[in-house]
Every structure is written in structure tokens, then in C-alpha cells.
Symmetry: C2
Subunit: 411 residues, 2 copies
């Protein structure tokens, strides 16, 4: 591990000096190489898939692991999209001339070495490597054991293309996933690794946060709420709730809980219950919801706390906006909350009251996404307050340095 990290640091120093043109050329060459190597990548993946099936892995998990030529083409295109984005490195974030004539500039510079610890989908390998490279950092990619052959094939193809384009191959390295200790070593390589980003389930993220001595950005878990205010347009509320819950259930910005103000419960509960059930959603509701329709299951604290990632929703009637905020502050993972309301005052109180990375006013929670926000690429959605909060694009993968220029200035 230390040897990998040391090589990453050396490579990162060369990469930090590379121009945007050099980085983009390497990325475009990588994308072409990945497409050209489709057969090789798919063949490696087939071995992973076979092994997963032999271990009795459920088919929905196997599907996440599976690569076909379309999926390879999709992540190759993702690498091209990253090449097309502006280079964050060198951006002057802040600048001024101080009263004494010193020129002060805060400039974006590469982070250095970024460790990614992730589960499942092998497309993360190409995505993360491309984003880190464009942001001027070397990546150490520690995927899951189940995708080890797929990830190794993708990394090999990328390294060959990067080296052929004149950058050091070691800007992208796979960390062996044979045993758990490689992840532990990665997250404890303080001084060699500048940042670790875990992507995956709650268990993985908690482990990294607790054990890492390298700074971490937490991503992902989304116990997301939609609150329908007393002043809501109920047609709009119905659209937003249905979209937030059913547009795609397995993603972190999907709604998991519905809170409805008591003043509109009589009108809204029958409509939303019918529509959700018609869409195949199981409602885990409080007594008010249970009274409206058969088939509503009784909600417990477990439901308020759960990120279902499925066609399930927890549902509750609240007495006030403040009750909704209180419920959210108690149970939310701090990802995204939405309010549907016509009231400026209600929107303001909700926005100031909750404590989450994103707040939607009259919009579906599904919009919390780097692509939707116009960031072009996204390495994850931060649910912590430090460094980056919400969707993280290229600038969030950099740090800054102050460059101060004088003419012999002394104090």
C-alpha cells in the first residue's frame, strides 16, 4: 500500500505541472482505448459475474456488476465529458492588492493523491479516475472484491493510454481488493494520501469515517423527505411526491419519507395514497394514513430512519411546519429535503430550519445531482459540512494555495 501511495505521490507531482491540453489529450486517449478494449473489459467482467453467481449473489446485485458493450461505451463517453469540462486547476478564487501593496491570490491547486473506496459498479472506476486526473490528482482506486477483475482490466487500459499520451501511468492505480486490510491501509496512509472518498452503503461509509486518519468526505446516504405544507398547491405536491419517490428508487436523492401538514391532510391523503399505491409504492404510515386506505403498513421509528431505496415510503401527518422541520432534523441523513408551498414565509422557515446539503422548494428531490446542477461530472454527493456539501464536481476535488507577491515586503 505504502509503495502504491508513494508512486501515486510521485505521479501526482508531474500531473500537477501538466497543462489542460495534456490532461485532456490523455483523457480522450483513455476513452478511445476503453472503447477499443471493450471485448477485454467485458471478458474480465464475465469472470466476475460468473464468480458472483456461483456465490449465490442476488440478480439485482449481479446486474450492478454487469458490463456489456453499451455500458463500456457509456463510461468511455463519461471520460470524454470530463475532458470537455474546464480545468479547475489554476483558477484564481479570490485576489486583491493589500493596502501595503502585496498582491494576494488564492489559487486552485490539485489535492494530490485521492483514495476512492467503493462498492459494486465498475463504472465508478473509470469515472473516478477521470475526474481525479482532470483535477490534477492521482487516484488510488479500491473497488469491491467482487468487481476486482473488471476494475483491474479498466485500470490497465487507462494506464496504458495515459502513459502513451505522455503522462505517468501511476496517476491511476488499482488497490488490490483481496482482503479488507488494503482498504484500512489506504484510509490510514496519512501524509501519503490527501483525501479518501467512500462511495457505497451506510456500513462502508461508517467504517471509513470511524477508521480513517486521512481526511474523509462522506457521500451518499439519502434519507430524503418531502414536506407538503398547509399552503401547498396539492396538484404540484402530488407530482413532486410521485416523481421524488418513483422516478428512480435506487438512488440517494429519491424520497423516503412524506410529511403532510394536518390542514391539507383531509384533501391530500386520499389522493397521494391512491396515486402512490397505483404506482406500486408500499406506504408505511402513521394512524392518519392508515385510516385513509387499506394496505398502509404501520410505521415505526425504524421507518423514519430507513433509506429504503425501493418502492416504499414512510408517511406522517404533522401539526406544523416546525414539526416537519423537527422530524427532519431528527431523522434525516442531511442529503436533500423538499417543501411544496405557495408561501414565501414557509419556504424561508423550512430552508433555514432544516440542516441538509440541499433544499428543494417546489421541485423534486431528484434534482440534487451534479449533472442536473450543471457541474458536468460528479464524484458523489457530500452529506458532510466540511469542504464540500451536496454534489461534488471538479472544483471540489481541488484545494487552494495563497500566492503572495511582494517587492521585498517585510513586517
Amino acid at each position: 500500500m505504502h509503495e502504491l501511495a508513494r508512486r501515486a505521490r510521485t505521479a501526482a507531482r508531474s500531473l500537477a505541472l501538466a497543462s489542460r491540453a495534456q490532461k485532456d489529450a490523455a483523457l480522450l486517449a483513455t476513452a478511445d482505448a476503453l472503447e477499443a478494449a471493450t471485448e477485454r473489459v467485458v471478458a474480465a467482467n464475465a469472470l466476475d459475474v460468473e464468480a458472483a453467481r456461483a456465490e449465490g449473489t442476488p440478480e439485482n446485485v449481479v446486474d450492478r456488476l454487469l458490463l456489456d458493450p453499451d455500458r463500456v461505451a457509456a463510461f468511455a463517453q463519461g471520460v470524454r465529458d470530463v475532458a470537455a469540462l474546464p480545468d479547475p486547476v489554476g483558477e484564481v478564487v479570490r485576489g486583491s492588492t493589500l493596502p501595503n501593496g502585496l498582491r494576494l491570490e488564492q489559487v486552485r491547486v490539485p489535492m494530490g493523491v485521492i483514495g476512492m473506496i467503493y462498492e459494486g459498479r465498475p463504472n465508478v472506476t473509470a469515472d473516478a479516475a477521470a475526474i481525479c486526473l482532470k483535477a490534477g490528482s492521482a487516484s488510488l482506486l479500491r473497488g469491491s472484491r467482487s468487481a476486482a477483475r473488471s476494475n483491474a482490466a479498466i485500470v490497465d487500459v487507462m494506464r496504458e493510454a495515459i502513459a502513451a499520451a505522455g503522462l505517468p501511468a501511476d496517476v491511476v492505480q488499482a488497490v488490490p481488493a483481496d482482503d479488507r486490510s488494503s482498504a484500512t491501509h489506504l484510509m490510514q496512509a496519512r501524509g501519503l494520501v490527501d483525501l479518501v472518498i467512500p462511495r457505497g452503503g451506510e456500513g462502508l461509509i461508517r467504517t471509513v469515517v470511524e477508521q480513517s486518519t486521512v481526511p474523509v468526505i462522506e457521500t451518499g446516504t439519502g434519507n430524503v423527505h418531502v414536506y407538503v405544507d398547509a399552503d401547498a398547491d396539492l396538484d404540484m405536491a402530488l407530482d413532486v411526491v410521485l416523481n421524488a419517490k418513483t422516478h428512480r428508487t435506487s438512488v440517494c436523492n429519491a424520497a423516503e419519507s412524506l410529511l403532510v401538514h394536518r390542514d391539507v391532510a383531509e384533501d391530500f391523503l386520499p389522493r397521494v395514497t391512491k396515486a402512490l399505491q397505483a404506482a406500486g409504492v408500499t406506504i408505511h404510515g402513521d394512524a392518519s394514513f392508515a385510516a385513509v386506505a387499506p394496505g398502509v403498513l404501520e410505521a415505526s421509528d425504524h421507518d423514519w430512519a430507513t433509506e429504503y431505496l425501493s418502492l416504499d415510503i414512510a408517511a406522517k401527518v404533522v401539526d406544523s411546519l416546525e414539526d416537519a422541520v423537527e422530524h427532519i432534523r431528527t431523522w434525516s441523513s442531511g442529503h436533500t429535503e423538499a417543501i411544496v408551498t405557495r408561501s414565501i414565509d414557509a419556504a424561508r422557515r423550512f430552508t433555514l430550519g432544516v440542516d441538509s446539503a440541499a433544499v428543494m422548494v417546489n421541485a423534486s428531490t431528484r434534482f440534487t445531482d451534479g449533472g442536473e446542477f450543471g457541474f458536468g461530472a460528479e464524484i458523489g454527493i457530500s452529506t458532510q459540512k466540511l469542504h464540500a456539501r451536496g454534489p461534488m464536481g471538479l472544483p471540489e476535488m481541488t484545494t487552494t494555495t495563497y500566492v503572495v507577491t511582494g517587492d521585498g515586503h517585510v513586517r
Copy 2:
């Protein structure tokens, strides 16, 4: 500890809704109250000082602990200065209307609860509490045991004034410093405390970084270098070296190592050695420095690694700018490095090559400072890459949230 943190969280929620006018009024009332309570604070401090002397604490450490009416007046004025600064909360950092008509705003919001773990000087108590309050966060202040009575008196006075001004007293709380475990509990109160900032010696900072499960911003240690390039104006270089080393030795932006390009060594070494020695500086030099003058001690790796904080400097001749960069990357703590040169190209290579929070070109390292940078207040100087790097002012004590406003937008 959990009880303190819970009270801080509750207070932080009220504080987050307070207007700038309310926060400034509380700060000004606090400043007045501190001055009015000078006798009480100085009396409490006298007990700390007496106990410290009884324990045989060295006088220079006692001096850091000591409060007199002037020092109380100085930190009261510091609190007024914080009140005069703009409110970072509510600042729109980024905003746009997306192609689909969604309005996207990234807004600064309070961090929540900030834990400070610090040593020595009791003025940090008032400074940190004021900065956190202005930035909308509650503070949990864990000072050193030796300053416990002083800190308690300062916190009591502040809490009374804050409550009288209509904000919850619990936005400022002292964490008992009776034993080490209170610091451990503070840094492991994940979910209750949003950020921990250690201020003090290397040992304290390392302990917090290793043991904290709450996100940390590392501050402070400064193994700071001045590099005199082949193209330097040697008069300027002499000024910069002397100022960086001798203007104030006990601070983190003071120079600790001098690197001189071989091409100018013959001219520069006798001059700089003479001037440093005349200023009372002990030089820990390589063979080139030792050959120039008597009294130069032989440098070992220990010297390259040491933050002296005294009238000592490590000194070395390097063969090239790249050697200087390599030395700095090996030994620096990533705080501040300076180059003296007339060459644009050398300045560029040095700036891109080192990996530190601040780089000075033809200016003393002593300028890495929130006050000098025009930030008005400074809670410390971050030497890490995540969230904040370099001097941290009020904006660095906040986080952001994305507020997305639509008109029933769904995907």
C-alpha cells in the same frame, strides 16, 4: 459532554436564525461586559498563575497564561472587531438559473456546533467564542487545565452578556478541563459536534487528528522555509530572511530554515550569517555555512524537521531550485514557504513545486496571517487541504447549502 453538546445544538438552532444586528449587539455587549469584569477575570487568572508557579511552570509559559487589564482590554477589543466584520451567513456563493428554469443558489449557512481544543493563552477563549458566534455557530471551548479558572471566568461573563442581549447563553460553553477524557469525548461526539479545531503544539494536534471521529481542521505547526534563488536581489533576500526569522520567533509563520542557491552562496552566506548572528540567531548549518563563520552548529535531519520557535535557524546550500523544492516537500509542515528571486520563471516553478498553504514571492513569511490578509479575524491557520487552507476567517467557519427553487419541477 453529551449534555453540553446537546445544549449547544439547541442554542445553535436559535443562533442560526438570528440576524446580523442581533449577533453584533450580543458581541458588543460581551466586549463591554468583559472590560467591566476586568477585576473578576484578572482575579480568577491570578489563581491559575499562582497554581502554575507552584507547579514549577517556566516563566515564559506563565507569561502566556497571565492576564492583566491591558490584555483583557485587548481581547475585548478583538470581540468588537469581530462584530464590525460582515456576516458570512446568507452570502450567496454561487447562483444561476438552470436551463429548465430551476433557480440554483449555494448559500453560506452556519456550521452548527464547533469544538475548540486549545492550550495556554486564555485570550483564545474570547476570540474563538466571538468568531464562532458571528459565524452563527455555538462553541464548545476546551482550554487547558492550567487556564481553567481564567477560561471559566471569561465564559461566564460572555454567557451573561449574551443572555442579556437576548441570545441563548449556551451558544458559548466551557468544557471542563479536569481530565483528558473531556477532550476525547468532545472529539468523538460525532453527530452532535460538526467540527473540531485543535490549536496548540504538535502533540495536541496529532492526538486530535488521530482520535477524532468529528471532522477536524488542523492548524498551526509551521516549519517554514525561505529560499534565496540564484536570481535573487541579495539585499532584499537579507531583509526577508532577517524579518522572517527575527521579527517574532514564537509564531507559526516565522522562518525555521534557510535554503540558498549555490550560485549566490559565496556572496550571500557571509552576509546572512553575519546579520543573523548579530541578531542573536544560532545557525544550524551544513558544511558550506560552517565554513563561513565560527559558531555555526552542524545541522542534522533533526534540524530540517524542527519548528524551533526560537532564535535558531537551519541553513543549507542547494544546487538548484528543484533541490530546494525537494527539500521543502520532504521537511515542510505545509504552512508557508518564501522565494526571493527576480526571475518570473523561478517564481512560477517554486510556486507550482512546493505544496504549502501559502507561498511568498519576495515577501516575508510573516505575512501569512488573517489580519495581514485583510480577513479581520482569524481562528487559526489551516495546514490541511480539506475545507480551508491558510488563514481562516469567518467564511471558513461556515458551510453551504444548495437552495433550489422551482415551480413544480419534476424529472
